[in-house]
Amino acid sequence: MPTIRVVNLKKYFGKVKAVDNISFEVKDGEFVALLGPSGCGKTTTLLMLAGIYKPTGGEIWFDDQLMNNVPPKYREIGMVFQNYALYPHMTVYENIAFPLRAKKMEENEIKKRVHDVAKKLMIENLLDRKPGQISGGQQQRVALARALIKQPKVLLFDEPLSNLDAKLRMMMRAEIKKLQEDLGITSVYVTHDQAEAMTMASRIVVFSRGKIMQYGTPDEVYRKPKNIFVATFIGNPAMNLIRNLDYIKEKGKAFLVSENLRLELPEDVAKKIEESKNSGKFILGFRPEDAKIDQKESDMGFWAYVYVLEPLGRDLIINLKVIGTEELIKIFAEDEVNIKKDEKVFVKLQHGKIHIFDSETEELII
């Protein structure tokens, strides 16, 4: 299985820069997700990997071979499209067999392979039907079978689960991951669902407006988001932000302050801020699970009003309004807390679990 290397890849549609100078690498057998909001250039990138779009600039390498001018049929790729793109005039059997027919394979061998892959994906009983006569989830399996049958070296997925209901999506998520692990095929998986990317991929390319915001493991993009975009795009509920803070020093102690809010910073954090190149305005970020509710004031935190409670069964999400900034934040509550609406509480942040971004560049400082 090849290593995919994308170098300074660009694709412009007239004035629209759909993909704007991106570089990343997918290792042999790795499962990488391209994650980003709608219209950020994920599909365009995938279609360039498949050889359907010609790049405006840049290079695509499979191992040591430059693929820019290689037509799709020589790339040995399997692809699952967003709406599956099954051929409506062919039966499921013919759909799955179609890639093998291109290779002029013997009919017996085709039959054997189609039945093998159909069995693996549990669609053997559907082989005689037309795509219009099977459900969305089944169509998805057929599309997967069609992509797998020729034993491709690279698998490309374009939001294959987005048309399925939530339950089926969770199930297929695990199934696709297992399949990819078993087969060890280098895979690129496009999605706009951060949960999908986090659970399935070994590394995630986070996209925004044709550019790469961050490339890292799920843990890295979650724990150390490089900028505000990644911080808020990944995680559900999103990371809490308190904007428009100034950095001051008093009596050897460092604080982030706004009009009515005063947050003392640990020494190492203060040092990082001082060393950094910054605009003088900062954004504080912390994850909903990294803060605690308390009744009395302690060293690092701020006061807030309880705004709304959202019970989720297992968890409780507390929505709070920060006193002084009126910013809304969400916090996962511990089971034992017993709080009421409009109550005034202290939000205690944890050392090492806060992120500070520059207001202007929105880049992470620490």
Partner: protein, 281 residues
């Protein structure tokens, strides 16, 4: 509250009125066909009543009539023209429509606008120019001349129609074919063309019918009786220089319309099932 007679039967009355109006609108056509068929089996008519039944008007089917070519030869000519026009058009529009729909070549938009203008242009006004072209090509008094003429005049518009069908096929269908290991041409033939079959069928039927019913060019550019088609045959029964034979005219007219009617019975059922340009699934 009591409902009036009209209120109680409102739905039924409305449908009845609707049918009545529809019948009134279509009756001139229905009645004239009805008359035509009756007339072809009668010696003479008093209004809609045949005076005496006969099959003599249909004698052209089994015997030569003086001054007319053999009917079967003429029918064969007609079918030849219709089928050839159909083949030419299907061949050209199935490819041309794809190109118009999928390729972004320079001049594509102006070409499509031009096609629309061309279509609005009455071809009769080209008659003299066509005469010289056919003469130059040595295709006067030759059915091939008619075929090429018909096909070339109709291809632009039919290409436009086919483009509409191709536009309805999602790009992803095509990309899937490319990824599955086929060339663009193979994808067109194995994936895309089967999906626009309804369009091909529509184009074929209309091309066939237009070839079958062609009259003006035949009347103008065909001189020998051996190349006559049925439209010319019908025209001859009205006669410029002989006495109009209404019985013969009716019978030949019915004979001429028969294949068209039969074709519609077969195809209409098929065509209604298809939404224009749509592919399910």
């Amino acid at each position: 509250m009591r409902l009036s007679f009209y209120q109680r039967n409102a739905d039924k009355i409305r449908i009845f009125l609707f049918i009545l109006i529809m019948f009134a609108i279509t009756s001139p056509i229905i009645l004239s066909y009805f008359w035509l068929i009756l007339r072809s089996f009668s010696v003479d008519m008093k209004g809609f009543i045949p005076t005496q039944l006969t099959v003599k008007n249909w004698r052209f089917l089994w015997s030569e009539i003086k001054g007319y070519p053999n009917i079967w030869k003429t029918t064969l000519n007609t079918a030849f023209v219709a089928i050839m026009v159909m083949l030419f058009e299907v061949f050209m529009t199935s490819m041309g429509g794809y190109a118009l729909s999928r390729f972004d070549f320079p001049g594509r938009t102006s070409m499509m606008k031009f096609i629309l203008v061309l279509h609005a242009f009455p071809s009769v006004s080209l008659m003299v120019a066509i005469y010289y072209v056919l003469k130059y090509l040595n295709l006067l008094d030759n059915l091939w001349g008619i075929i090429l003429l018909k096909a070339s005049l109709e291809t632009p518009w039919a290409t436009w129609v086919m483009k509409g069908f191709y536009d309805g096929i999602p790009w992803e269908m095509e990309w899937a074919g490319l990824v599955d290991g086929y060339s663009r041409f193979q994808v067109w033939r194995k994936v895309i063309l089967p999906l626009v079959k309804p369009g091909v069928a529509v184009t074929a039927v209309f091309a066939f019918l237009s070839g079958w019913s062609e009259f003006i060019f035949i009347n103008t550019f065909i001189f020998s009786q051996e190349f006559w088609t049925l439209s010319k045959y019908v025209k001859a029964t009205i006669g410029d220089f002989r006495f109009a034979d209404y019985g013969l005219l009716s019978a030949v007219g019915v004979f001429y319309a028969l294949p068209t009617i039969i074709l519609f019975f077969f195809v209409s059922k098929y065509m209604i099932k298809l939404t224009i340009g749509g592919v399910k699934g």
